[in-house]
Subunit: 113 residues, 6 copies
């Protein structure tokens, strides 16, 4: 099981556990989060790329994994994703480099699935 | 003079001053930053939107002003920009709200120019 | 008009403008944000203090102004608020000091209202 | 050994190592940090909750583990902690979600101890 | 009065106000902060440069003003400070650029005093 | 193999992979990053210490590992590095403590190599 599969499995297990808690505010936040990436004035594909770059500059590896999978599913090519990685790198600086390494590995793992 | 004009004037004056310093590393960084938003695998228009959302989640008002102006110039509509603001808000949380207010005001000022 | 009044006036004006935009995701986020501070398992008074400390460690002056006003309204004393400021200072470090100065001034202004 | 026990064991080992270094500034910072959570104008129980929310919005898993254990020890109920998690989620945004999953798991592990 | 003088005047006024509060934790933090920059294994001059770069990557303008003044007083040359600015820019990315502009202006103002 | 060796091995493998991608912007960023730490107005030894403190306050463990190794190679003593750790701790606050523990362990591992 790749680390991407482990992430998805843990994410799914804990989101189920959070669902059990049944906290109205938290449930609504989850809905809001899901809806933010649906087609609207901007299409969902573009929004996933926005989510990916935001995750990289905020340096959140789990968020990177999630949005890499979504971006691959939405049809972004490697060349386009590398361009987005470059924007994140320039905006966020060398502190983003460990997350760039992580994102490139995640992308390679996502392509193998 | 709107605060957007003041920002552009100060930005221009200080970038000139930084140019005078003639530091090789800093000059190269400026070039890298400019080039990151040129058409490549991703077009420049999409990249400007990535830069805007990154600026909002990192909560940098001057960066928001800069990318709002670029996004308006690149042809993004208000409805599309509001959708991008929403992604930034959901990713970054209520701490982004003061920057959302700022971004909406900057957008209105940019449309009046 | 104190800078606290100016903040409230600008905040109100721009929130009205954002309301006009009528973006479903943004409107729901605003509702979620408001509801998060209502009495529930934790009372609203405690939640406002949580919001204040979160705003200080994230170093957002507008958020500090908002939560200072809410905390004063909720009945927290100066001595209690100074204790909360101290937690924020220790967690967030000297980088929080400019925001501590700001928060103390905001609190003094809020008491004068 | 749960990951919470591993955290406590590593934390204890490395704090001992840091104690050996005997750096006056670092030692005083540790004392200041401990004292910030003692009963004063605010009681220690409330301060631990402030520390937990600050840790969540700053997205530090080790700090979350530490404050979850302190909050459980101080007598906060699950329902109260979920409310605090919700404040952190709304303030910090979806970037906090991986830390929410982590915090819920830590809380479950802490209850089993 | 330059903005650097205004900063020093406000900083001094509010630190006096915070002194009046006489909160033991906050007072000790201020002492710890002052002592961290004294000559020890590292000399104070080097430590001020560390404080400046930390302030730039954390993007705190007031902290930049404070450490620019300390660095000028400690004897760092413009060329050395520009090199430090460059490290901050590369580590922190383009999001640091507005703070680079600010720091260059602060340095120019500090040289004129 | 210590975790420091694992870090170096993973870093090397993924930087090779990123090199293969052959993205002009990313390659130039890597060059800029390397050059920022070369002897210039400031010597490379001082710049590595700046990079280390920046990495600690930005709370990036991989960056800490990299700069610890560079600082040891550049000839900084333990006592000097502990002083730098203290500056990072005071600037960044208790949220830095987990990274202080990590940095002390990395330094001990680096000395054993």
């Amino acid at each position: 099981m790749s680390r991407l599969d482990e992430f998805e499995s843990y994410r799914s297990k804990m989101n189920d556990r959070i669902g059990e808690i049944d906290h109205l505010g938290i449930k609504r936040f989850y809905n809001l989060d899901t809806n933010a990436y649906h087609d609207a004035a901007l299409d969902g594909k573009t929004k996933e790329l926005l989510g990916l770059v935001a995750s990289m500059v905020l340096r959140c590896n789990d968020c990177i994994d999630y949005h890499i999978l979504q971006c691959v599913h939405a049809g972004w090519s490697d060349a386009e994703l590398f361009d987005a990685f470059n924007v994140a790198l320039v905006v966020g600086g060398s502190i983003v480099i460990p997350h760039l390494r992580y994102a490139v590995e995640s992308l390679d793992l996502a392509r193998e699935k």
